[in-house]
């Protein structure tokens, strides 16, 4: 994988979280598809007027947005530029 020793020189000793990111991709994909999507796959309750089946998708997209920011800050947060 990318975080093997060979790359640390190029990356200036930066923190890398490649393996965790791969797990994150799999997790966020799983909540969008069956069987896990089955938990959200219902019309009621409506949230902000939106059926729950749609709110579920939108909710996890928002979670994804903040998660990727967290990954980026963990990996690149300490850089000056």
């Amino acid at each position: 994988m990318a975080e093997s020793e060979g790359t640390t020189g190029d990356l200036g000793g930066r923190r890398v979280a490649t393996r965790a990111f791969v797990l994150f991709i799999i997790a966020i994909a799983l909540v969008m598809i069956f069987p896990i999507y089955g938990l959200g796959n219902r019309v009621e309750p409506y949230v902000f007027g939106i059926p729950f089946s749609m709110f579920w998708v939108v909710f996890w997209i928002i979670v994804e947005f903040f998660a990727v920011i967290a990954f980026f800050l963990y990996e690149h947060g300490g850089e000056t530029k």
């Binding site: 598809i33 007027g49 939108v58 920011i69």
Partner: protein, 490 residues
């Protein structure tokens, strides 16, 4: 003034802007450099990158097809959100690695990378030919969208062939002169315009027709069978397996589109990751686009439309009171959506022809000759797509559809190149061929698919089995082993 006159004026103003921006983008850059034409000398900035990648999902499909899906298929339209949200995530992992390899070994295409890893010209030419056919199909859809919008909003005063010719002609010219930079900068304008138009339109329609989001969905629930807003029920448009496998295939296949993959070569690791970071926002931007389709339920009678893609134009002409300004705004927004995808695809197709189809067959081409081939390819690919969009050709369309679905089959070779040192040339070539074949069979010829799974996923399974099986069965040559180690370690 008649609404259609205002519409023509507004669309013309937009076209002039897009044209000027596309031409100016290439100013002061080397006109005769392959690296500049193909990958902007690996120096695209973050802002442009966001819109370049964002513009690709805001295609004619999103603008016309998104509301159409929501209107006719209900919950199955959530697939579009999931696809847009997940499609770019793998780029966070592979993008930086592809960028490093590309800068070190001077790659411009996916074919360059595969050729270097597997040392196989056959593989590259297959990838090149499948890509170009798929690009033509994709382009044909965009040009049809352009032609349709022109025709409806000018109330038939501009014939279909002329509207498409003008709008797409502009794309062809700025791609030839400015290369990827032309596509990128005009995408900034196009994406912003389309977003603004979609949001304003959606907010207006939802409140005007239903008085809010809540009442709108309550009305949908009354009008439609109870399974309309969920997946996999008796009244749903898609089964659970079909929905899930379509999302999986889109997620794996999105970055395998060569015009997106090669964007890894246009920028830096940091910018790639920041682009991925912003991408879920683009998925959220699509939510109001789906609302447009839901708002039409109970308002637009189903038998008033030839196809559900016409729901947005129908709403505009029947529900908005024929205001010229709205016609013009929406015309410009829809053109922006179609053109921002068309330019990126036209550019990608021209690079694929030059680099992955012609160059392997005729090695030792000079840089200038290769660039000339690419620019000629812009015109040829453009002309082919234009012809198909306006005049159609039944037999060819089947072939193109098959290629379109086959893009995801590049994934095992590409991921194998980056992360698996044991992959071999024979395994990659045979896996790809079997995958494309299986996909083609289930997409176009078979009556039913096992477990109702997506044809691309069935192809992928066969592809991976063959790729991994053959690679493990036959001892790799020293050459294969050396390249494998070099790629995985870089």
């Amino acid at each position: 003034m008649e609404p259609w006159v205002v519409a023509i004026v507004a669309m013309t103003v937009y076209l002039v802007f897009a044209f000027a921006l596309g031409l100016l983008a290439g100013r002061g850059r080397s006109f005769f450099s392959v690296s500049e034409y193909a990958v902007a000398d690996r120096g695209l900035g973050l802002f442009v990158m966001w819109f370049l990648m964002g513009g690709t999902i805001f295609s004619a499909f999103a603008f016309l097809g998104g509301p159409g899906w929501a209107y006719s298929k209900g919950a199955a339209a959530f697939y579009i959100l999931a696809y847009a949200a997940l499609g770019l995530l793998p780029w966070y992992i592979i993008g930086p690695k592809v960028a490093r390899l590309g800068a070190r070994h001077n790659y411009f295409t996916m074919g360059d990378l595969l050729a270097d890893r597997y040392q196989s010209r056959v593989l590259v030419v297959i990838v090149g030919v499948v890509s170009v056919l798929a690009f033509i199909q994709y382009l044909t859809l965009q040009i049809k969208g352009i032609a349709y919008v022109f025709n409806v909003l000018t109330e038939g005063h501009i014939p279909i062939w002329l509207g498409a010719l003008i709008a797409y002609g502009i794309v062809v010219i700025y791609v030839i002169t400015s290369g990827v930079r032309g596509a990128a900068w005009s995408d900034v304008l196009q994406a912003i315009l389309m977003l603004v138009v979609a949001w304003v339109l959606s907010a207006y329609l939802v409140s005007h027709l239903h008085g809010g989001i809540g009442p709108m969905f309550e009305s949908v629930a009354r009008e439609k069978p109870s399974d309309f807003l969920i997946i996999g029920g008796a009244g749903s448009a898609m089964s659970a397996a079909a929905y899930s496998s379509a999302i999986v295939v889109s997620m794996i296949g999105f970055m395998m589109w060569p015009h997106l993959f090669t964007k890894s070569y246009t920028t830096s690791e940091r910018r790639i990751k920041l682009t991925v970071m912003a991408y879920p926002l683009f998925a959220l931007f699509l939510v109001p686009v789906l609302f447009i389709g839901f708002a039409a339920i109970g308002v637009v009678p189903p038998d008033a439309l030839d196809s559900s893609d016409q729901v947005l134009p129908y709403l505009i002409t029947h529900e908005l009171g024929g205001s010229g300004l709205i016609y013009g705004l929406i015309g410009a927004g829809a053109l922006a959506a179609a053109m921002s995808s068309a330019d990126a695809i036209t550019h990608g197709a021209s690079v694929s022809v030059g680099r992955d189809v012609v160059a392997p067959l005729k090695p030792n081409m000079m840089d200038r000759t290769q660039l000339l081939v690419m620019r000629v390819a812009v015109v040829l690919v453009g002309a082919a797509a234009y012809y198909l969009a306006i005049f159609g050709a039944q037999g060819l369309i089947q072939l193109l559809l098959g290629a379109y679905g086959a893009i995801v089959q590049f994934a095992p070779s590409v991921y194998g190149a980056l992360f698996w040192r044991r992959g071999t040339r024979l395994g990659a070539v045979c896996g790809l061929l079997v995958g494309v074949g299986v996909n083609f069979y289930f997409q176009l010829l078979a009556d039913a698919k096992p477990f109702d799974l997506h044809a691309g996923l069935l192809g992928l399974i066969a592809n991976i089995v063959v790729f991994v099986g053959l690679s493990l069965l036959i001892r790799p040559s020293d050459e294969d082993a050396a390249h494998g180690a070099r790629f995985v370690n870089s």
